[in-house]
Amino acid sequence: MKLLTSILSLFLLAGFLALKSPRHDARLHPYKLEYPSSFGSRFVIPENNSLTEEGVTLGRMLFYEPLLSKTNTISCSSCHQQSLAFSDNRRLSIGVSGKPTRRNSMSLANLLWVKNLFWDGRVSGLEAQAAFPLIHPDEMGQSLEISAKKLSKTRLYPPLFKEVFGTATITGEQITQALSQFERTLISADSPYDRYLEGKYQLSATEKRGLELFMRGPAPERGVRGANCAHCHGGVKLFQEVFHNNGLDSIAVQDKGRQEITGEASDNGRFRVPTLRNIALTAPYMHDGRFATLEEVLDHYNQNMFHPSNLSHELRTATNTEGGKTLGLTAVEKKDLIAFLHLLTDSTFITNPAFANPHPNTKTKPIR
């Protein structure tokens, strides 16, 4: 009889756990992602990490949480500042070791639509991405296990993790899951350019000329001038997930870019073609932050490129003069382009209170 009761209670417990384990109990509120229909839904959210209001809130707290670093001084937001479209203004970032990071901090906007993260596309999915900066000795420098332990010792976090994930103990996986939930909500879709596309913003003369140059490929034989930017940076999201060599070096030696991931020589010096959203805010530019200004970037594409054999095909062939070897934009055309690039600054995104530091009264140290 006693045995029967034990078996029965085991079954009951198993049944309860089975109900409990898909962790979204009814108390959690699904988070509704909002974005223009033109952005499309070509993204995948892992089935075991669907977005909830509670998960996003927790992720936001963790994003601004310096306890996740070895020195308790660095959070994700140290190198991904909202006012700079979640990038920083350094060539290379400084983390817990004080030693510069290898590459320039990337803007975190519209990552919902990005499949393979980092300058070299080395990981698939935000959950896997988040672990890298948390652990890297020159970034936050702390294992996920220690981070989980430190959060467990606070008064703040254990009930929040329990609410979101339904477990009594905090795990490293849960930290990266919550961070990813928050990052998926960082949608930028309200720049003057977006408003122009909706018919709600009137371009100035210089912005209009800039837009035309940005969108068009040059065809000197037909008298068409263009900068051909949209070929790689086009579309309403101003982003396509491709990796190109843009002629920064004759050969990439120190940092081989995508070659380090694929092992293929033809991937030497290929890096992500980044989004141009908020580009006026995310200086300095390129994977190593070598260009301080947009003017320097345009000068690079206009006349300063190296021509390695795997230079992006479009960069190799675009010219505004018949038989020309360089893009050949005039000084006025470059100014027009820069006027257009400033239209991509989304002030709603960088001031959205839902993305700001949620820890009250302090910039870096949350209240416990």
Partner: protein, 164 residues
């Protein structure tokens, strides 16, 4: 001036070091809903029946492309074509992916010449020469299309999938 010269020297060194990537090392894979996944080198392709066809590239000029018909490659991989291209197999599609991550899509029916009446070529030569770097070693040529946006350069992977 000095900087310029240094730049040129670097460029020359770069040419020697990067030079021509070994074309033989670059492969094309056919994966997904296939009987036999394939990874083919340029020599594997050259050993198959070759087709030549003329088509206009983005430059508006006609060129002669040489290579293997995609339908032949699909037959080799055991993709459902011909009599098998019916029922649910008509919901299959093909994602062609380039080395830089660029992707384009075809429906499987488009690839089957018996079905669509069109030839799609996996080209490795243009006007008798190997495709240049940045374009080859392999490129799709879709002769009947007015815009060559699906003439995907540096093609690396062809994946056949079911629409679900």
């Amino acid at each position: 001036m000095k900087i310029l010269r240094l730049k040129h020297i670097c460029f020359l060194i770069g040419c020697v070091l990067v030079g021509n990537f070994s074309v033989a090392a670059q492969t094309l894979s056919i994966i997904g809903e296939v009987k036999t996944p394939l990874t083919l080198s340029i020599n594997d392709l050259k050993a198959m029946p070759q087709t030549q066809l003329k088509a206009k590239d983005r430059d508006g000029k006609e060129h002669e492309y040489g290579g293997v018909r995609l339908v032949d490659l699909f037959q080799k991989a055991g993709v459902t074509l011909g009599g098998e291209l019916r029922g649910e197999n008509l919901t299959k599609y093909v994602i062609a992916r380039a080395a830089d991550g660029y992707e384009v899509l075809f429906s499987l029916a488009e690839i089957d010449e018996e079905f669509s009446g069109c030839t799609i070529l996996l080209a490795h030569t243009v006007d008798g020469q190997a495709l240049p770097q940045g374009i080859g070693p392999f490129r799709l040529v879709v002769p009947d299309e007015r815009r060559p946006a699906r003439w995907i350069r540096e093609i690396k992977t062809i994946e056949i999938r079911f629409a679900k």
